[in-house]
Symmetry: C2
Subunit: 470 residues, 2 copies
């Protein structure tokens, strides 16, 4: 009996009006308890139905002995119980009409043996019912828009900044408990670990995120692809609307073997992936730091209209490496127009080179160096030959934070092209605070100049892809 | 009149018994004042002679109107005065018998015009006297052993940890005011920015550092090489005794052009550099973060005796990328001996794979997971098939710091092979504190797993170079 419902839409996973929680409700340490606590902490306003045969209440809420006991309809269920109990629970959920189940429990296909059987039972339930499953062996998902999350662990942060980045992966490393998103005020829309992918896969997720109005950029880690054609279709759909950054480790044969043993999956041919990723217009990332750091360049700003970068440093030696990175990232080094070069030379003789070494103007004693710096940045970015800029921000002391923020506030109405900032100085807490203050104002900040430049390279690349010139 | 003194030894630069300081002695803002303040702050115990025609004292110390006025012999001078005044000052210093001058002032050859002439005058003084010069256009140097530093800027940190890393460069970015060495407790021996290299060059510096007993590893940034043969000889001398890590940006044509315009120098052919670096047994670095982060792997530990790495993670998906990095870094993935594999399987069924996924044992409820983890790490590292290990350290909460430190304290007598640790979690201050506690105990800590693996790859590479198998 096939359903008429559109199974391809993941909205019941990310936007359920009600959720049943299956897992130990033991105070503090129980993982079901943890889920309820986290749902409340992150402001999920849907109905929560804790289910456990051993408890009658949790955090002042009624607990149910089984899903049948719940009278109201239920959109989603989160399950973290021992593997043998999971298929019967999912079966009950299907009967109850639950549409989406997130299975956090591990020891399924990835563990071999009995685990393979349990996972196969899940696949069969999906096949003959309307229910859909994310997982098993996952930390599940997070929706910043409604505070819905499936994480059972203790999360220190009380909130995560709402924003445009969707992080998708096939590892718990994408879970909130492993991330500094709170301290780094990363602007997140959705997070999803697909786990063993017994049902919902990367193509489903991409289709959902392509349509998601909150998501401005998708950063996706994949270990394998289930259905190449569906994946490429979904990826194309995303790329037509927003950038898709893909990190697929397992480039080395040994890495591919490790991937195969991790997710119980077969990682495919490396060249095939590389070609497919290029063909759909996705941008390939090379390591985890890029996976976390690169999307911010798309979170707040417009796209660069070309690939000509200006690099502003406070030490000439740093600029050289930044130029190498720019070239390797597909950028070209902007040549300032004669008019701009003249104006810059009037401020200080050697300022008309690119990279621009701002260092010397800091010692021009007559003027406030930040006023001079502001003018230089504005001149450079308003040159028609410049599409974007990477700017060094030296924060030697706490007092400079406010001064630098003020400079960028003044610059806001003066410039309309994307920037990436590199923050450096002596004290980690000062750098972290400077980072936060800039990010809060929609200025992507990086802790090394190479990353700032690379991010602009990726932005320019997507700009070309979108224009059809990639 | 040629001197009999060995001009090749830089000891008067790094170990002067007395120093004259030329620069504005205006309180707080004067750069000469800054130098005196910093020398005192970092515990330099040699004699300090501030020289200025405008002040008679600084910080309670007598100031001299000229170097001639000083009766005692002077080993070194630091100069930060306007370019036209610099050649006469150096001339006076030469007459006085000063052996080493560090010229911080900028606007010499790098600025063109008159600056080129002033620099030429310095070259001529060096040619006809015994004096030697570092700079101009440099932040100069720092010697952690005696607290001698030439930095005129405000340094927030009151001390820098003494240790084995020498950072050499051709940019002020290596200056203490631009670095988190204090908060990161980086173990530093010597720091030197060569600036415009009107006299002392990279070969001189390498010769000195090869002999320096405090220096265990040299991390060097170069933009150009003055004399290829001398450089290669000096580099070989270093490599025979300690690792030499070289970062030479300017790989791209555009980067090479930027380098040429920065230091007023001509950057050479990229392939020639690459071949030369390989021939001498130095290890090439690829970006600034590597320049700062990689040397720590040599600072506390023995070298790996082979290239077989064990990777211990808490999430399988993270291990795959680490394997890619290991292979790209010249490591091989260790295969555990049958005896080790058996022991690991007894602890938990799937633990005998490499990468080892420690995640599941954290939920083995009967035992303290850190005791189990300790045993796993010890078993793995004591396997004869394993030469080194990269280990994931998850620090979700502050309380875990002490528990993790205790685990590594217990491990210390149980293992004798090099480790690199990857720290992650939710809160930046907690990560930073965990980092410090591990580094204090001689355990190199990294904030991404790829860097930890790459560091071990570099250590194994030097081990092979030293054994003559590179």
């Amino acid at each position: 009996m096939e359903s008429q419902r559109d199974r391809s839409n993941l909205k019941y996973f990310f936007e359920p009006a009600s959720v049943a929680v299956f897992g130990s409700l033991r105070e503090v340490f129980g993982l079901g308890y943890g889920m309820v606590r986290n749902l409340l902490q992150f402001g999920y306003s849907g109905k929560i139905y804790p289910v456990s045969p051993y408890h009658s209440e949790v955090m002042g809420r009624k607990a149910y002995s089984s899903v049948e006991e719940i009278a109201d309809p239920i959109d989603a269920a989160i399950v973290i119980t021992p593997p043998p109990t999971v298929p019967p629970i999912v079966e009950q959920c299907a009967r109850k009409g639950v549409k989406a189940v997130i299975i956090i429990s591990e020891n399924f296909a990835e563990a071999g043996g009995k685990g393979v059987e349990y996972q196969q039972q899940l696949v069969e339930i999906v096949r003959r019912t309307d229910i859909r499953i994310i997982g098993p062996n996952t930390v599940g998902l997070f929706n910043a828009a409604n505070g819905f999350l499936t994480n059972p662990y203790i999360i220190v942060h009380k909130k995560i900044r709402k924003g445009g980045i969707a992080y998708c992966s096939q590892t718990g490393y994408v879970g909130m408990a492993a991330q500094t998103w709170g301290d780094r005020i990363i602007p997140v829309s959705k997070v999803c670990d697909l786990g063993n992918k017994c049902d919902v896969d990367e193509a489903d997720l991409l289709n959902y995120l392509a349509d998601d109005p909150e998501t401005k950029v998708v950063s996706m880690h994949i270990e394998d692809v289930r259905d190449g054609r569906r994946f490429m279709e979904a990826a194309r759909k995303v790329v037509a609307r927003k950038p898709l950054l893909l990190f697929k480790p397992g480039r080395s044969q040994e890495g591919a073997r490790a991937a195969a043993s991790h997710a119980g999956s077969l990682a495919g041919n490396e060249e095939v992936y590389d070609t497919a990723i290029r063909q759909v217009g996705a941008i390939r990332l090379h390591n985890w730091p890029e996976y976390w750091d690169m999307p911010r360049i798309f979170a707040y700003q417009s796209l660069p209209q070309g690939n000509r970068i200006a690099i502003l440093t406070l030490a000439g030696g740093v600029g050289v490496a930044a130029v190498d990175t720019a070239i390797a990232s597909g950028l070209s080094i902007a040549r300032f127009s004669p008019a701009t070069a003249d104006k810059l030379r009037k401020i200080y003789p050697r300022l008309s080179n690119n990279p621009v070494d701002l260092g010397p103007i800091l010692s021009v004693s007559d003027n406030n160096p930040f006023v001079v710096q502001e003018d230089v940045i504005a001149e450079v970015l308003n040159d028609a030959n410049v599409d974007c800029a990477a700017i060094s921000v030296y924060v030697g002391f706490e007092d400079l934070i406010a001064i630098i923020v003020e400079m960028f506030e003044h610059l806001k109405p003066r410039i309309a092209k994307p920037l990436a900032l590199w923050i450096y100085g002596m004290q980690l807490p000062v750098l972290d605070e400077m980072y936060r203050q800039l990010e809060e104002r929609g200025l992507p900040a990086y802790l090394d100049l190479e990353s700032a430049v690379r991010a602009l390279g990726i932005a320019a690349r997507y700009s070309r892809i979108k224009a059809g010139h990639a």
